[in-house]
Symmetry: C2
Amino acid sequence: MDKEYITDWFRGLQDRICAALEGADGKGRFERDAWERPGGGGGLARVIRRGNILEKGGVNFSAVHGETPAQLLGHLQPELGMGSQPGLRPEGATLADAPRPGPDFYATGVSIVLHPYNPMVPIIHMNVRYFEMSTGVRWFGGGIDLTPHYVDEEDARYFHGRLRAVCDRHHPAYYSRFKAWADDYFYLKHRQETRGIGGIFFDHLAPDASTSAEEIFAFVRDVGDCLAPLYTHLMRKNAGLAFGEPEKQWQSLRRGRYVEFNLVWDRGTKFGLDTDGRTESILMSLPPHAQWEYDHRPEPGSRERATLNWLRKGVAWA
Amino acid sequence: MDKEYITDWFRGLQDRICAALEGADGKGRFERDAWERPGGGGGLARVIRRGNILEKGGVNFSAVHGETPAQLLGHLQPELGMGSQPGLRPEGATLADAPRPGPDFYATGVSIVLHPYNPMVPIIHMNVRYFEMSTGVRWFGGGIDLTPHYVDEEDARYFHGRLRAVCDRHHPAYYSRFKAWADDYFYLKHRQETRGIGGIFFDHLAPDASTSAEEIFAFVRDVGDCLAPLYTHLMRKNAGLAFGEPEKQWQSLRRGRYVEFNLVWDRGTKFGLDTDGRTESILMSLPPHAQWEYDHRPEPGSRERATLNWLRKGVAWA
């Protein structure tokens, strides 16, 4: 199982997800915007705008390669014990200081964020990715998390139940480990709020004596494949629910929080913007509109207040 | 000239600026929201919403003190040569590792961001601040920058001309040095755009053999005092200009860029959110509404395109 095989599978996943979402939306179409990375590789952004249900969203595929960015080597060293490997830069070193050539990397993945019109339909995010370096290091990462503007407990249990079932097919410890990881990752420290009801998150899943690359990739494929049925179910179930101006207002404020998470805390976004990643692909995650109101506090007893009460770590949804 | 004197002057500046802005707005009033910092000190947020001209804005005063945050000591060490001082933490050390007690700090300042309704009126930002530590270190910082939704060349020359006059009264090198510093600071690397037409920015201005603390503070006072006449002039001049839906749309997209700068690149915002600063005061800089559109590109020859062409470093406005 080499990187071409993984890349092809991710490319196919993008197609299947776009087709499923177009089917559920009934009007919007995912446009195609292919791009090249100056340092090597490129991607295909697929963007939906002003659909029936989906107001703005992206399903992005990329496969990039080249010399490993210094910022990434700095981050990886403690974890990979690469400090003494020849050709690797010491943390804090700049490109100009570095012995050349550094190792090459190859990274491929699919990233999705979907923002619906109807505040009763949640925002969803999914990412699956594979990374390898010419040093022989390789790993998978990914995650899915749901950000309802209004938390519906039945939907939340359904969502987490499906993710638990996916995880349980591969390892009995995966769900609890990756659910806790999502709670910690999708967290706005400055608001003391989780982004939404969480989901699963995992990174640097590398083959070892107990788990082969094939087994990890089988899990990653299952995660990728669960997005479309999960989200089209929520689209169909909730897109007809009534809402008015107060709910749209609240949706805009929650979208503001989504912006805050992505721009302040999301490591992938920060890394991408800091290493000359493709800005339009990275920021496709931002909502069509957002609002900020000074010190906004929902009324006690309101549905908005009830939603805030769910935005905490450690809720046992499944 | 001690910290109480500086603090009182900043407190008075907040009052005078709010009064001048209320006068020019004609309807909006700056509400008062006093807050305390758990570690010591506090502030007074003054917030305007839904005025005649000002849609959302804040004029914030704060005076906080306590044990110096580890994150700050880490940043300061190379600059201040504090590496070997007893009681200071090595970079990367956590609070738990640290020898106690660290030095105390005292910081006071006024921060302003104003978002007008009319896209023909620019967004303005101003900050003046003073910082000292029990180690004897003290400095001033500050800046003013203007972010027009549509760059008006006459307004831009007026704005920079006034800033140059303020700087020139204190040091012949200040304007060119601080103008270049603003170009570098208020820059969205991931967009290769400046935030607006810049202004002046300066930090860590410490007294030395050639310049006393009194002289630096006199400059900082002049910077603080020029905000109200500068901005009320632009409010009165432009708030009556006609605009329609396309201009409001463009304003929303430019406000999205303002959000991107503040959340991704602004060091003050990042530091505040990372050190448990008061979130509502830090994020008062965010606009009331913002929009994001995938890969939006203004038409060649349009006024929007002309504005983008001005958003670069090194324009000689004055």
